[in-house]
């Protein structure tokens, strides 16, 4: 059962769209196609090549980190929470990975295990503070983020560690024309999709995000569900950190914060049609949202637009897109 099909129909007399078109995910991918087409026209008119193999692969490559974080963020947002600590967690993940590997092939598995264990611990901390201490998720994850940030700034002042050649292949190798990292993103996306749509935990996440009180009265152990969502999100951020480490070849204390993965990932999730208030949306839309941001970046880079100005356009696109979704959602109450 798809959560979108449960949406209440709008009032009589209003044109009822065919259910495929009413699905927000479809809208996201239509918008993605529109942006791509527009970009292709503009770039081609300027004499550039937009849909060349190189450029398309570049767009995929650039979507991986944000994609991994945003897929994780989707899970917490769906559950009615949010995670502002991911940016610092990504930084720490690159540092832990690079220091543990220390240039030796034999250390790769222990390093991955260490990063994942650390991520699970951070996710647990987030989830427990949110549920058991009843601290609003905004403040809780901001606080946990501050704790991580202090730890980073106290111990590191620049790039450290060394990632062995063999692990860097994750960041640079290709299967045919497609980068390996795109498969990593696909794998994580499918796994999270499976959890959300095909397991009891996933249904419970939608239920808790839709109305926590009702979910609890219906017998859902809401605390466990929220904690699980935070752990899943943190693990995705950890994977993003591992991938970044393989790209950079070392650990960087600014890996996660420079690109503002905390707020950007939330923006990508919402751009992908997931309700910020929770209970509605999904991973497929999020990937569409991430691709849309990457396509925009690519178009601007090809046109030589000032990078600062790109931020202005990003802001406008995010606001306009979400405003359009809200309009489509009809007269239902929208949370401020």
């Amino acid at each position: 059962m798809n959560a979108q099909t449960l949406a209440p129909r709008t009032a009589l007399g209003r044109l009822v769209l065919p259910s495929r078109l009413a699905d927000p995910t479809t809208v996201v991918y239509l918008a993605l196609a529109g942006v791509t087409l527009l970009g292709w026209i503009v770039v081609t008119a300027r004499g550039g090549e937009f849909l060349s193999l190189d450029n398309t692969v570049g767009i995929l490559q650039n979507s991986v980190v944000l994609g991994l974080v945003a897929v994780g963020q989707t899970v917490v947002v769906l559950t009615g929470s949010l995670d502002l600590s991911v940016a610092y967690l990504i930084s720490i993940a690159t540092l832990v990975a690079a220091e543990t590997m220390d240039g030796a092939d034999g250390n790769i598995l222990p390093a991955i295990a260490a990063v994942l264990a650390f991520s699970v611990a951070v996710g647990l901390a987030n989830g427990i503070v949110v549920t058991k201490f009843k601290v609003n998720a905004f403040i809780a994850t901001l606080g946990v983020g501050f704790i991580l940030r202090g730890w980073i700034e106290d111990n590191y002042s620049g790039p450290t560690g060394k990632v062995p050649e063999s692990f860097q292949r994750l960041g640079y190798d290709r299967v045919g024309p497609i980068p390996v990292s795109a498969f990593l993103l696909l794998l994580v996306g499918v796994a999270v999709w499976f959890v959300l749509r095909r397991t009891r935990l996933g249904y419970h996440m939608y239920a808790v995000g839709g109305d926590e009180q009702t979910a609890r009265l219906s017998g859902v152990r809401t605390h466990r569900v929220v904690i699980a969502a935070h752990v899943l999100c943190a693990v995705c951020a950890g994977l993003a950190g591992l991938f970044l480490a393989s790209r950079l070849g070392a650990g960087s204390p600014w890996a996660g914060t420079e690109a503002r993965y905390d707020l950007t990932s939330i923006a990508a999730v919402v751009l992908g049609g997931t309700l910020l208030a929770g209970g509605r949306g999904g991973v497929a839309g999020t990937i569409g949202g991430v691709l849309m941001l990457s396509v925009l970046d690519s178009v601007f880079n090809q046109l030589g637009v000032d990078p600062f100005f790109q931020n202005v356009v990003r802001g406008v696109v995010i606001i306009v897109a979400v405003a359009l979704y809200a309009r489509r959602a009809g007269n239902r109450e929208v949370v401020a």
Binding site: V129, F133, K134, V135, N136, F138, I139, A140, L142, G143, V144, G145, F146, I147, R149, G150, W151, I152, E153, D154, L263, I266, A267, V270, L276, A277, D306, F308, F309, Q310, N311, V312, V313, R314, G315, V316, I318, I319, V322, A323, A326, R327, E333, V334, V335, A336
Partner: protein, 366 residues
């Protein structure tokens, strides 16, 4: 209205609770409003005492007023942020707005060196209010969640200011403009402190007015408030406008004491929200007092100063800050939940505001 002639006994039983604190004596009203934010005053007192123990000279006029002057921008931002949060939203754009305010002022003086400071200040506040108006309209009319609307606005403002200045703003702020943020008004008291007091008084009066009551009612339950006749869109938009104007005032203060920088407002949005939450104001809206929110800002600044004094490594400061913020909010959620619920019921502003059918304590049939 029967409520005017209630006996002490009826008041005890809560029969007149629907009339709210409007009927209380000023002293009791003051105590009730203090109680609403009690944890933050305890926190502030503890931190100030700790600061006094750590540095006995701290409470001498000069260092103390210097401390208040440093705290002023965050206090002003917290007051503005409170209005948005209590009406059920977030304003993440205030940090970027402070940066933009400082940079635009410098560029304005670069282009018009002779501009009078009153004109510049008026333009700044009007600009801040305009950005707030856009935030408010996007949130209310276009129905974009305020988190996303103000996040988008942050990207737009920061992108625009860096695009314009390429990261290195030109121009300097003249002394007459910097007076408000830097100099003293009379004796050792800085202008910044006077300004904070004025804004505090205005905020309290505002929250006592119809606007303030409808604002809290909107944050508590927008639907119910709308059905009761509150112009929800207008009230919410106005909250954003005032928050934008407050950010412009904060920009004047920041520009005054620390000069021009493209990083001037970085991080202020999270600090302001943290301060408001420390003040016991619920995220999601509907409860909390503006004075407590401003006290939350002062607590946060006291905490920073204390960590500095204790020689905690600059970096570990953020860690301690994270722990303390979580702990304070968690304690607030645990110990005071019951108290706050009772108080909210007691002073529930929407109920107080409505023309209720007069109650009939003696049970007479009509």
């Amino acid at each position: 209205m029967k409520a005017a002639t209630v006996t002490a006994d009826e008041r005890e039983r809560g029969d007149v609770a629907v009339t709210g604190i409007g009927r209380l004596t000023p002293t009791r009203r003051f105590l009730a409003s203090l109680r609403a934010g009690a944890p933050v005053y305890v926190l502030l007192a503890v931190l100030l005492v700790a600061l006094g123990v750590e540095d006995p000279t701290f409470f001498e006029p000069d260092p103390f007023f210097a401390f208040l002057k440093r705290s002023a921008p965050l206090i002003v931002l917290a007051a503005g942020q409170y209005l948005v949060i209590v009406s059920g939203g977030y304003d993440l754009s205030v940090g970027a707005l402070v940066t933009v305010g400082v940079v635009v002022t410098a560029e304005t003086y670069h282009a018009f060196p002779g501009a009078h400071w009153t004109v510049v200040v008026a333009l700044l506040v009007a600009g801040g209010a305009f950005v707030g108006l856009v935030n408010g309209l996007v949130t209310t009319v276009l129905r974009v969640p305020s988190f996303i609307a103000t996040l988008g606005m942050t990207l737009i403002l920061e992108g625009a200011v860096f695009y314009w200045t390429q990261g290195s703003p030109r121009g300097i702020l003249p002394d007459d403009f910097r007076t408000i943020g830097r100099n003293t008004a009379f004796g050792p008291v800085p202008w910044a402190v006077v300004l904070c007091l004025v804004i505090g008084v205005v905020a309290v009066v505002l929250m006592r007015s119809d606007f303030g009551r409808t604002l809290i009612a909107t944050g508590d339950n927008a639907r119910a408030a709308g059905l009761a006749g509150v112009r929800v869109l207008r009230v919410r938009t106005l909250a954003f406008v005032l928050s934008g104007a407050a950010a412009a005032v904060a920009a004047i203060l920041v520009g005054g004491f620390s000069g021009v920088s493209a990083q001037a407002g970085r991080g202020y949005e999270f600090e302001a929200i943290t301060a408001v939450v420390l003040g016991g104001v619920a995220l999601g809206g509907g409860s909390g007092s503006v004075v407590a929110a401003m006290a939350g800002a002062l607590s946060l600044q006291t905490l920073f100063t204390l960590l500095n004094l204790r020689g905690v490594a600059k970096a570990m400061e953020t860690t301690v800050q994270g722990v303390i913020v979580i702990a304070a909010v968690a304690l607030g959620a645990l110990d005071w939940a019951g108290t706050r619920r009772r108080l909210t019921a007691y002073v529930s502003p929407l109920v107080r505001h409505l023309p209720l059918p007069s109650r009939n304590p003696r049970g007479e049939q009509r």
